[in-house]
């Protein structure tokens, strides 16, 4: 009964979306304020209908209603409650429902909060959001309905893939989807602007907060997914250049370019055509990512062809929206006036540089991800494009960005001189050089280039602080004045500093985890030891434990430092009875920003267990960096200038009243 209610709500959402797609758009064409305003209520109502639908599916999971095919395939009555709930989006149908729910959430948020938007623009944006929602609702109802009933009710479910039975599933997909789908709004804004043909700095001001929100969530979501993979897969890797990862990384790169170019457009009315194009491409890449992940095209072009309904449906959506928006762009681009002139050496110039390298690096990721598919489709030959390719292409493209990153914020708009900017960074450059020498001295015959990379990270980190110091006026003014000035700086300046600092920190983390880490592995009997990074790990026996829906063999590993036992680590091999698969549970101990990571492999007939240990130097920086980036984005969002629906300052109001 509840499931039918959910199904009904889903169809109701479709009807409401249909209204949202047509009525406000028609109103905007005819200049009818009432029709335009109807977009607000229909999009909020559509969101509520989807909330009911999603809640109904969640309820079916909670009570383990195995009469639903979707619940039967992905749940089990013994599963802990948390994983019953998260299991809702741990599968194709449920995750698509979450996708659309978030899509309508953004429409509803725009409808409710963006009260300062011109009514025509708002009506058009909501209508375009409606078109996207419509397409995906049809996709769900026709090819991926989570409310489908089974003719006979099975007694027990088939259980969720054990790898997904983790707190990570509760956090990672929702964050990622908010990021992914959030860029739909920038897309709708771009399409709406092209339809009406009016694009100016104000447009960028309306769009930038939404792009920032999406970017913040996408950043956090990717970082979270990376950490999840790190501890769950049991071998300490944290980025694999896997197509599924690339699917979220592509919109991130393009979105990063977008929030930078939108800045130029907002402040200087320049780069308009380019910014519109980026807004279209970012969401197009989100759609492409959805296609890559959801169509099954990944494993092989052939497996895609064997069950093509879903894939072809999404491919159709992809073609309509990407092709349609780009065609519109091609028609309208010439009509757009390019405003705001600037010299190559200027803040704008630096941001163009950033955009060039970000877009090319994004294209490289797209190329590497899709090339094998295309080649197989064209002449049937199979090749692999793996991490070595991305390291060789993507890696070098990042170096210029990192080198230029500290310069950008120090440059003035329109026209700037390189020499004074560089002079202001003398100290930062000196400090980076010092760190390189220090690293070289401490590692002796260690990796020279890793030391250079450390210098690069320090350059970025200190460079981002340099702008703050500069603007405080320190050391020319006394500390109190400097602090007062720092407090008075716009939040967005602080946001930039935090985000750029995070990038530098991440570079340090990558260098540490790659070049200064250690790994050891042995086949251990009880009493055997491993020496790693000053620790002595001893196999101290094993035990079998019973979990709610699994059994696990836990290895006790005693960790000693300087002869004193510090703690016991408990890596395990887990076997999920319902699903019939095994997982590796690593055991991790954090020391400041470094980690001791221990996992177990197979046990042979003589009772020897493969015990593996890693010392991951500064590895936490890899994720702390992105967290700082996301935090910087949040700070920027609280900037008065960008606040969604921010009321005009009292000064401006007074000025208006006087006028």
């Amino acid at each position: 009964m509840i499931a039918e209610l959910g199904h009904y709500a889903l169809v109701l959402a479709l009807a409401l979306t249909l209204v949202q797609s047509i009525v406000p758009f028609w109103g905007a064409r005819t200049g009818d304020q009432v029709l335009m305003a109807s977009g607000t209520s229909s999009s909020i109502a559509g969101f509520l209908a989807l909330c009911i639908s999603f809640a109904a599916l969640t309820y079916s999971y909670v009570i383990s209603d195995f009469s639903l095919a979707n619940v039967w395939q992905n749940s089990h009555s013994d599963k802990p409650m948390l994983y019953k709930v998260t299991g809702v989006w741990g599968n194709h149908e449920g995750s698509m429902l979450l996708w659309v729910l978030i899509l309508t959430l953004f429409s509803a948020m725009l409808a409710a909060f963006a009260t300062n938007l011109p009514s025509r623009l708002k009506a058009d944006v909501l209508a375009v959001q409606g078109w996207v929602t419509l397409a995906f609702l049809l996709f769900i109802l026709f090819t991926s309905n989570p409310f489908e009933r089974l003719p006979q009710i099975p007694a027990e479910g088939k259980d969720l893939n054990p790898i997904l039975q983790d707190i990570g599933l509760a956090i990672h997909p929702p964050l990622l989807y908010v990021g992914y789908v959030g860029f739909s709004l920038t897309f709708s804004f771009a399409v709406a602007a092209m339809i009406s043909g009016r694009i100016d700095g104000a447009w960028a001001r309306y769009v930038r907060p939404w792009a920032l929100v999406a970017w913040v969530f996408l950043t956090a979501g990717i970082a979270m997914g990376s950490y999840w993979a790190y501890y769950e897969l049991g071998w300490g890797g944290w980025w694999f250049w896997d197509p599924v990862e690339n699917a979220s990384f592509m919109p991130w790169l393009m979105g990063t370019a977008l929030i930078h170019s939108a800045l130029v457009m907002e402040k200087r009315d320049a780069l308009k055509i380019w910014t519109i194009l980026l807004a279209l491409l970012t969401f197009s890449l989100s759609l492409l990512g959805t296609f890559i992940v959801r169509s099954g095209v990944l494993t092989s072009v052939h497996s895609f062809a064997s069950d093509p309904t879903r894939g072809i449906f999404i491919l159709g959506i992809l073609l309509i929206f990407i092709g349609g928006s780009l065609a519109l762009f091609a028609m309208r681009a010439n009509a757009l006036q390019q405003g705001g002139l600037f010299q190559p050496i200027s803040r704008e110039g630096a941001l163009v540089f950033n955009n060039l390298f970000l877009t090319v690096s994004c294209m490289t990721v797209i190329l590497g991800t899709l090339y094998p598919l295309f080649l197989e489709a064209i002449d049937g030959s199979k090749i692999s494009v793996g991490p070595p390719y991305f390291n060789l292409t993507f890696g070098p493209l990042m170096i210029p960005i990192l080198l230029v990153m500290p310069l950008g914020p120090l440059m003035s708009w329109k026209r700037s001189d390189l020499l004074p900017v560089l002079q202001r960074l003398y100290f930062v450059a000196g400090a980076s050089l010092f760190c390189i020498i220090l690293a070289l001295a401490f590692t002796h015959d260690g990796p020279v280039l890793a030391s250079l990379a450390i210098g690069l990270g320090v350059w970025v980190m200190l460079g981002s602080v340099a702008e703050l110091v500069q603007r405080s006026g320190f050391p020319k003014v006394n500390v109190q004045t400097a602090i007062a000035r720092l407090k008075g700086l716009p939040r967005s300046t602080w946001g930039t500093a935090f985000a750029h600092f995070g990038v530098g920190l991440m570079v340090l983390g990558i260098v540490g985890a790659t070049a200064f880490s250690d790994e050891k592995g042995i086949s251990a009997l009880k009493g055997d030891t491993i020496e790693i990074a000053g620790f002595t790990l001893t196999h101290a026996g094993s035990q079998r434990e019973q979990g709610p829906n699994y059994v696990q063999d836990t290895l006790l590993v005693s960790v000693k430092r300087g002869g004193v036992e510090e703690l016991k680590l408990t890596p395990a091999k887990r076997f999920y009875t319902g699903h019939g698969t095994a997982t590796t549970e690593a055991s991790i101990k954090t020391y400041w920003f470094s980690q001791l990571y221990v996992s177990v492999g197979d046990t042979d007939e003589e009772g020897r267990t493969v015990l593996r240990a890693w010392w991951k130097s500064q590895v936490l920086f890899v994720w702390l960096g992105p967290i700082l980036m996301a935090f910087g984005g949040c700070l920027s969002l609280t900037d008065r200038r960008l606040r969604v629906g921010a009321p005009k300052t009292s000064k401006a109001k007074r000025a208006l009243a006087n006028a």
């Binding site: 060039l356 390298f357 390291n391 990558i510 070049a515 492999g601």
Partner: protein
Amino acid sequence: MRKILFPFLLILSFTVQAFAVNPDEVLDDPVLEQRARELSIGIRCLVCQNQSIDDSDAQLARDLRILVREKLVEGLSDRQILNFLVERYGEFVLLKPRFTTQTILLWLLPILVLLIGAVLAVKTFNQSQHKSSRRASHLSEDEKKKLSKILEE
């Protein structure tokens, strides 16, 4: 040059240092073992989703790891070993595709697009500068006289 550059790129980009190598597979000669590890990172575990044989716990990955080490002990060069694997399993086994007519776009397109993008950016700068100077001179057509008048006064 490539030898020097490669670790640097490896460090700067997202690389995974993981290993699934079982202790009994490890070669006694540390130089050969190191070469085996480096080779393994570039060889795909054919039955896995997207893992190198260095990362994978699968039986096939283990067999390939042992095979690579056997060939190294026999004294084959890295290139010979990769050729041997490609002959046996096809290009699919290489995680870093070789530069052939099939992969020419894969390897060259990033550089090409970067160059084209740079040229376009520079061109846009020049155009806008040209426009601004033309606008300045165009405006001064009328105003030159006024200006000179003002200056004369």
